[in-house]
């Protein structure tokens, strides 16, 4: 009994190290999961989601004006709209309504 007690002294040190590591890792993982879940829930429960519409190659950014107008009229709401145009030189011009 005495002998096993003596031999176990050293390994106990590693058990303490192990526990410490887990506690140290536990705190950031708690913060991470709280943040992640609230982001996910926010995204999932959001009443609105963005709709991205891409016109065909020969159409301009105003291609969907009629559609947006119809939708806004039908539901009596004004949804915000951002029009992006990527020019041939790589520059982006935008218009917001």
């Amino acid at each position: 009994m005495m002998r096993t007690f003596n031999k176990q002294k050293k390994p106990a040190k590693y058990l303490i190290i192990l526990t410490t590591i887990l506690v140290i890792l536990g705190i950031p993982s708690y913060i991470w999961t709280k943040k992640n879940v609230s982001t996910l829930a926010g995204r999932y429960n959001s009443p609105m989601s963005p709709i991205i519409m891409i016109p065909g190659s020969s159409a301009s950014a105003d291609r969907f004006d009629d559609l947006v107008k119809t939708i806004n009229k039908q539901y009596g709401e004004h949804h915000s709209l951002l029009k992006l145009t990527v020019n041939t030189d790589g520059k982006i011009t935008y218009k917001a309504l």
């Binding site: 390994p11 058990l15 590591i21 950031p28 708690y30 999932y44």
Partner: protein
């Protein structure tokens, strides 16, 4: 031997193990697994650095200061990837060398040539025929999951040397240069045979397709046949977990393998949607999924709950080798990288450890299933980042539920108690027949016979 082991079961297990250890096949496998240990360990530590510091979506993002310089960041990341890929990422190549070398040595053939031929052979078989990249291989089969194949291939190469060449000349009898030439010509026949067969084999069978086939079948079974019956769900989750655990025990990988990219089946997604909708994990529709049972409670420290084995060694083992290995593999295992302890003890292919390796995760999963059914803790439904400590995955997956954390600790304790008797048996067996003693020695002919 009788006085070493207390009960009938221990004696029986010891007898089986000792009998197996006499087999050449078994000795070669065990020794090869021990040989790859340093590379696996090094690779695991690199992987930890990648998970904790270099990943941008890691759970430690908030506390570890970020490198804002993308250029420096990318370079460090590239270096880490290179170090990882050429240690843990290609252990199968190292293993095939070892297996061929030990086999050839046993039959008194040119062991060095056999090992090198085996490396060429494995690389030829896994070679990707691509016109874009001149030298590329099917990477997945070169890592831990290709271990079984690599060892068998190595033994086959060693055996080919025995069958088709005469024994190696005595090293000291002649002048060095002529000796090397002589050795080359003695081994030329087996080398050519092995390489030609490998080319034919690699051309006929696309190895990734071949090695992934069982997995694909099982995976499609797991995703396409979903049942709403809780009992069937429980049974199928346990079944697939068993498949995964047994597969990794033999150097393969199952569908729930933590190394792989998270595959989420519809039941897991249902749970997440429910929880996000109701702002709580309590009452999620599917209680028994891979996430709620296997990932949370069966992988404490990697497949087979090997963190429990490490703790069991700290608690009861007096063997200096076991202690050293446990100390070094403790940190990788915290991050669920169990491969290093699996090759260091070795656990892989080791008949003593197959029982706790399956039993510990299985018991924890059943306990968890009961606790979930009794609503003692919420099911783990939220996403868990890769490399999150296994012990904390239930805690993270339930959005910080204390019940789940306490239950993880209980699971760990139970697993430790399952491992303890087997650590004792393994230790006693080491005093009778130590496989690790003659590892890599020059004259180990006696031990191999």
């Amino acid at each position: 031997m009788e006085n070493l082991f207390k009960n009938k079961f221990e004696q029986k297990l010891a007898q089986i193990t000792l009998k197996l250890q006499k087999l050449l096949f078994y000795r070669i496998i065990q020794r090869t697994v021990l040989m790859i240990f340093p590379f696996v360990l090094f690779g695991s530590f690199i992987k930890i650095i990648q998970i904790t510091i270099l990943r941008k979506d890691s759970f430690l993002t908030d506390i570890i200061p970020k490198l804002n310089n993308d250029f420096v960041f990318n370079h460090i990341n590239d270096i880490a990837t290179a170090l990882y890929s050429l240690t843990l990422g290609w252990v199968a190549v190292i293993a095939t060398f070892g297996a061929a070398k030990y086999t050839a040595k046993h039959f008194h053939r040119d062991d060095q040539m056999a090992g090198l031929t085996s490396i060429s052979s494995l690389l030829i078989i896994t070679f990707t025929y691509s016109r874009v990249q001149p030298l590329s291989f099917h990477g997945t089969v070169l890592g831990m999951r290709g271990l079984l194949f690599a060892i068998l291939l190595g033994m086959l190469v060693g055996w080919t040397f025995k069958a088709t060449s005469s024994s190696a000349p005595n090293h000291r009898s002649k002048h060095l240069s002529s000796n090397v030439l002589e050795r080359t010509f003695i081994s030329l026949k087996p080398i050519s045979i092995v390489l030609i067969v490998s080319v034919i084999f690699s051309f006929l069978v696309n190895i990734t397709y071949y090695s992934d086939l069982p997995n694909n079948i099982v995976y499609s079974l797991a995703t396409n046949y979903q049942s709403n019956n809780a009992l069937i769900q429980l049974l199928s989750t346990i079944g697939f977990s068993l498949y995964t655990i047994i597969a990794s025990f033999f150097g393969w990988s199952g569908i729930y393998s933590p190394i792989e990219i998270e595959k989420s089946d519809p039941t897991v997604l249902n749970n997440l949607n429910y929880a996000l909708n109701h702002h709580t994990a309590w009452g999620a529709p599917n209680l028994f999924t891979s996430n709620t049972l296997y990932h949370s409670f069966a992988t404490l420290g990697g497949t087979g709950s090997v963190l429990a084995l490490i703790i069991a060694i700290f608690l009861v083992s007096k063997d200096p080798d076991f202690q050293t290995v446990a100390r070094w593999t403790m940190i990788p295992s915290v991050f669920n990288l169990g491969s290093s302890i699996m090759s260091g003890i070795p656990v892989l292919f080791n008949v003593i450890f197959i029982i706790p390796f399956i039993l510990a995760p299985l018991t924890c999963m059943l306990m968890a299933a009961i606790a979930l059914q009794l609503h003692l803790m919420p099911p783990s439904v939220y996403p868990i980042p890769t490399g999150a400590p296994g012990l904390l995955s239930a805690f993270i997956g339930t959005n910080g539920s204390w019940q789940a954390l306490i239950f993880s600790l209980i699971s760990l304790t139970v697993s430790v108690y399952i491992y303890i008797p087997f650590v004792r048996i393994a230790e006693k067996l080491k005093t009778i027949d130590n496989l690790a003693l003659d590892e890599g020695g020059i004259s180990d002919d006696e031990n191999l016979q």
